[in-house]
Amino acid sequence: MTVPVEHLFILSAILFAIGTAGFFLRRNVIIVLMSIELMLNAANLAFLAASRMHTLEAGATEASSKVLCSRSS
């Protein structure tokens, strides 16, 4: 895949914005929780994009540990 890193960041921003809209606009607690999950995923995607940009393991470790620890939520 040779997509520029910017597009990954843009996708992450769009997903985060949608999650925020859901968080503020929906009243149902379950759906609010799902919107938070959406925002967490957007953050993961941003970590991934940063890791890809720097081609370091750091971002991958961070994103992976976030995926693993959000098991509790």
């Binding site: 895949m1 040779t2 997509v3 520029p4 890193v5 910017e6 597009h7 990954l8 960041f9 843009i10 996708l11 992450s12 921003a13 769009i14 997903l15 985060f16 914005a17 949608i18 999650g19 925020t20 809209a21 859901g22 968080f23 503020f24 606009l25 929906r26 009243r27 149902n28 379950i30 759906i31 929780l33 799902m34 919107s35 999950e37 959406l38 995923n41 993961n44 995607l45 991934l48 994009a49 890791s51 890809r52 940009m53 081609t55 393991e57 750091a58 991958a60 470790t61 961070e62 994103a63 992976s64 540990s65 995926v67 693993l68 620890c69 959000s70 098991r71 509790s72 939520s73």
Partner: protein
């Protein structure tokens, strides 16, 4: 080919995320979220993060989604609740205002990321076994990042204890109330 698949999956992820926010019934929301997670897992795979994609499927699609479905079905929340669409003008307007602000800020940050010239194009050839090999990940996680890792485990333990405490208190209160 991979680029086209990426844009397809990105469009799918955004559409599914919109479905989470706009769908009427919680079941539809859960299924949209599931679709979004699968699209994101494909994107992770395309970007070379194989372990992350596997963890996304196993943890999110496997565990968290089943948890949401269980909660919705056991508590019988499947019908679109009348409260969710309640006419609460002030809250709605405030929420819409806030979300527009946050969305604008996020998009501005994205635009700044695009226009910044510090971003290197990611055109390096992909390693065959992905960027996040299990070996490298474990070495980093239990070496350089051991302290944050342990901090996360303490946080998780505290959360589990808090859940037990809150759940027990809730039951006692309910028993007292009846």
């Amino acid at each position: 080919m991979a680029n086209a698949l990426f844009y397809l999956m990105a469009a799918g992820a955004v559409a599914a995320a919109l479905g989470v926010v706009l769908a009427k019934s919680p079941i539809q929301c859960v299924l949209s979220l599931l679709a979004s997670f699968f699209c994101l897992a494909t994107i992770y795979l395309l970007a070379g993060f194989q372990f992350l994609a596997a963890a996304q499927i196993l943890v999110y699609a496997g565990a968290i989604m089943v948890l949401f479905l269980f909660v919705i079905m056991l508590l019988n929340l499947g019908n679109p609740s009348s409260k969710d669409g309640a006419e609460d003008g002030l809250f709605r307007r405030k929420g819409a205002f806030l979300s527009v602000i946050v969305a604008a800020a996020t998009m501005a940050a994205g635009a700044m990321a695009v226009t910044a010239d510090g971003l290197a194009p990611a055109t390096q050839p992909m390693p065959e076994h992905g960027i996040d090999t299990i070996n490298g990940l474990a070495g980093e996680m239990f070496g350089r990042y051991l302290l944050p890792f342990e901090a996360i485990s303490i946080l998780l333990l505290a959360t589990a204890v808090a859940v037990v405490v809150l759940a027990k208190r809730d039951r006692k209160d309910a028993g007292k109330g009846s």
